[in-house]
Structures are given as C-alpha cells and as structure tokens.
Amino acid sequence: MIELSGLTKIYNQGKANRVEALRGVDLAIADGRVTVLRGPSGSGKTTLLTLVGCLARPTTGRIRIDGEIVSGLPERFLTEVRRRTFGFVFQRFNLVRGLSALDNVMLPAFPLGVAHARLKEKAFALLDHFGVAERAALPVESLSGGEAQRVAIARALINDPTVVIADEPTASLDGERVAQFLAIAEDLKRSGKTVLITSHDPRITHAEIVDTLVTMADGRIVEEAA
C-alpha cells in the first residue's frame, strides 16, 4: 500500500519562475491494482508519479510505502527503495542510446552483481515475453515506438519490482499498440503487481482493467473513482 498525505511540490522555490505543481495531495494506492491518474497537461499527474516513485522529494507531506515513511529517507536508502519497489516506463521511454535492447533491459540489475549469464537469460526471457526477442541485439534507436516501449517495460521488470509506474504510456502509440499495452498491464496486474499509470488517453482511462481512476486538476485531486 502506498499512502500519500498532504503532498506538495514547488519547483524553483524563491525564484521568479516558481511553480506550485502539487497543492496538498492525499491518496492511497492499493496493492495489486491498476490506478490511473488523469488530467490535463500541467495538472500535476507526472509530478505526483515522480514523487510516488521516489524520483524527487516532496516539498511538504509524507509518502508511506507499506507503512514505512520514505519521503525523508537519505538518498542512499531512497535508491534502495526505488530499486526494490519500482519499475519505471517513462513517457519517452528513456532508453540509453547506443546500447542494445538487451543491454538496456539488463542495465538496472548491473549494480546488484547478478551473474552475467543469469541476468542475460532473464533479460532475454523478458524481451521474448513481450515479443521483441528478435530485436535484442539491435541498438535501441533503431526500434519502433511500440518496440521501444516493450523494451522499456522489460527493463522496468528486470529487478522484479512490486509497483510498475508508466507515464503517458500510449502517447505515441496507435490503436493496436495501445491494446498491446493494456494486455501487458493486465498481465502485470494478474501477476500481483501494482500498476500506476498517468494518462489523458480515453483508451486507457476507460479501459476495463483500471481499478481506480484519479482525476487531477491544478495540482489537486478533484475526483477519485473506483
């Protein structure tokens, strides 16, 4: 269970370009369910996602994961939480250019010291599961949008996280690819993972697999529907 209480986030505090991205958010994200954050651009959904995923710290407020307050943890411990708990699928995938799809999938596990052969086998199995095994050796810049996304999902899962976070995962995908993504999300949910998605794509927000739909506007949660 991820619990957010009184979460605010202010960028460029004390400067002329100060932005109040979150203005006091309270939210509980249940385990093993698919939660979608929706809202217009600038509503704060991506900021909320980065705070939940420990990619940034809130200005005020608390984040609890399974009862443990993580928002005040020092960087080292926060990295450990991030590594153990979350797998990220970024909007623009954020794959490392110049490396192969396989290397990109293996990358999050490098600091863990997993045996190379075992890691390679696991990464390849993930790529195979998502139907891009034949693209494993290719540099990621040569992949299509859909392929890159599936590689990004495989990367997010390499360390067996309990929560998968996806930021606008269907922003650049056609209908067939969106359906494929939803199938993957359903698969993740079935395997017991918590899935947290930001999207303003109705194909996602109205999908059957969504358990909770959170609507945001102007840095606040305006509606939460189960």
Binding site: L107, P111, R155
Partner: protein
Amino acid sequence: MHPALERRRHLLDFAVRSLARRPTKNLGLVVVYALVVFLLASVMLFGSAIRREAGTLLAEGPEITAQAMVMGRHDLARTADVEALRGLRGVRRVEPRLWGYLWDTAGAANYTLMVPLASDAAHRVAKGKAIVGEGVARARKLAVGKMLFLVSPSGKFLKTTVAAILPASTALVSSDLVLVEESDFRAFFELPAEVWTDVALSVTNPAEVKTVAEKAALRLPGFRFVTRSDMARTAEALFSWREGFALALLAGGLLAFVILAFDKASGLSAEEKREIGILKAIGWETSDVIALKLWEGGLVSGFAFLVGVVAAWGHVFFFSAGLLEPVLKGWATLYPRLALEPSIDALELATLGVLTVVPYIAAILVPVWRTASTDPDAVMR
C-alpha cells in the same frame, strides 16, 4: 563469481561500451592526453637517464682535478706544482694532463684536444695518430685509417691518422674529443715542455677526498681543487636545469590539457546528464554512477598514460629523444649521439601519474558527483 566482483565487471563492461558509443570524442581525448604524457614522460625519462649516464661516466674520472688559477681564471700548471702534489699524504697518483679547445672551421664545431693520461693504456696514441670521439668522426666523416688535419689558431698544422673512434656509449663526455700524442699536442699549441693544462689526483682512501683536497689547497694556494662530487653536482644541476626548462615550456601544454579535461568533465552534456538521471531512476546509487564514471576516466587516462609512457620510453631509449635532444643535451654542433641505458623508475612514473592522471580523474569526479547526487527527476528534466 562474488556479487561485488560481478558488479565491478558489469560496471567495467558498461564503461567500455559507453566509451565506444562516443568514439570520435573519446579517441580525440586519448590522442591529446597521450601526447601530453608522451612529452612530459620524454623529458623526465631523458633527464634522469642522462643524469644517471653522466654519473656513471664521471665515476671513471679523476677524484680530484687541480687547476692553477690566475685572477680567478684557469691558468697552466708547472711541473714543479705537479711535484709538490706528489708528496702529499693520502695521494695515490698524480698525473698532469694536457687538453685544450680548438674551433675547427672545417667541421664548424668546437673540439677538445687531449693527451691520454699515462695510466690510460687503453687509449695510448702513437705520434701522428689520433683517437676521435663519435661526434668528431661524424662531423668530419672520419673512419679508422683516414687522415685528420687540424689547423691551430696560429696557423700550425697537425696531420694525423685516425687510429680509433671512441665508443658511442661514452659520447656524453667524449663526443668532441680528439686524443693525440703529447709531442704532437705541444707542437700544435706551441706549448713548452714544463707546462700542463691541469693535474688529475687519485687518492688512497676515497672517503678522504675532501680532506686531501683541503690539504692540497694549503700546499698550493693558487690552485683550485675540484672533486668528482663537485663535478657530479654541476652535471646534475646542468641537466636538471635543462629538464626544468623543457618542463616549463611544456607547462603551457599541460595547462591546456587540464583545461580541456576539466571542460570535458565539468561540461557534462545534456545527453550525459540525462543518462545519469536515467541510471539513478532505474535504481543505480550515486556511488554506482561515480564508480562507472571513474572506470570510464580510468580507462581513458590509463590507456593514454600507457601509450604516452611507452612511446616516450621508445623515443628516449631507442630514438635518443630526437624531438627534445637540442633542448636537453645542449645546442652544440657535436651534441652526443649516445644510446641511453633503458630503465624504469617507479617514482618517476608515480610523479608523472600524479601530474597527468590525478587532475583528470579529479576533474571528472566533481561534476559527476554533483549530477548524480541530484534527484533523478531534476536531472532528467
């Protein structure tokens, strides 16, 4: 394999692939880096090798050299002075020497004409013969059996046949040498029989060189007594000065390299920053990122250092430091072509490492640490 070792292996693998992703940029850096190391290493290796060489050669010279002085300038010694030194306690051998300089217009070089010491059986020269240094042979295109004509400033001729050429291994002190027989020398320079250029003294107990020199100075107050250690100090100072001069010239290049390294490292590109953000976001710790960048920096600097040092070693010991020869050996026409004894000094290598590798690594660490310790979201934005 232990997870810690496996982790290092992964980081090293990734560092190699990261460098390979930007081949032009990193290759350019390695070339400039290796060039700086090559120049600095050449100067350092050459300087120390030539000092070592000079020390070895000086070890074979006289323990004390006695020179008559008039008004602070070197004058000729008399046979009576030589005899006065012979009776000195602690002196094993006293040998008067004859040597002088000659500007040779044909060779456009300055030669040192010398009569071999009586005790030097290996270089004994017969009348009408000469033994020449490697530089003289080169300047005058001489070979054994060829004629060597010399003309004194007063117009006297000396006609000799080359009996031998001195080995290149002694070139540091013998390059410009012409050894001739005593009567030929005196006739050429029109020197009376009772005068000598200076006197070489050998002592019974090498530990008492200084004491013997002091006693000799009391006996012949008009003489200067130069010990072998004085000569070694002078050689050390001369070559150290030249090495320092060359290093000062190279300091500009080194500074430019440090600026380049700092600029390269501190000016992390947007792409590099974004990558660090991605690595942090997918679970890498700050220390993992720093370790990765240290591997990258270590590979670049280590490879450039190795290439630079090996090239400098070859340049100094197999090509006689051709690029730096005029600066380090002097500007004389007959600067020696000696082959230096190949050697490696761990302290020198460590010094070179401190001068070149440490600033580069330090220049990498600070900006990487700054970026890696920022929230991944802020770095990726």
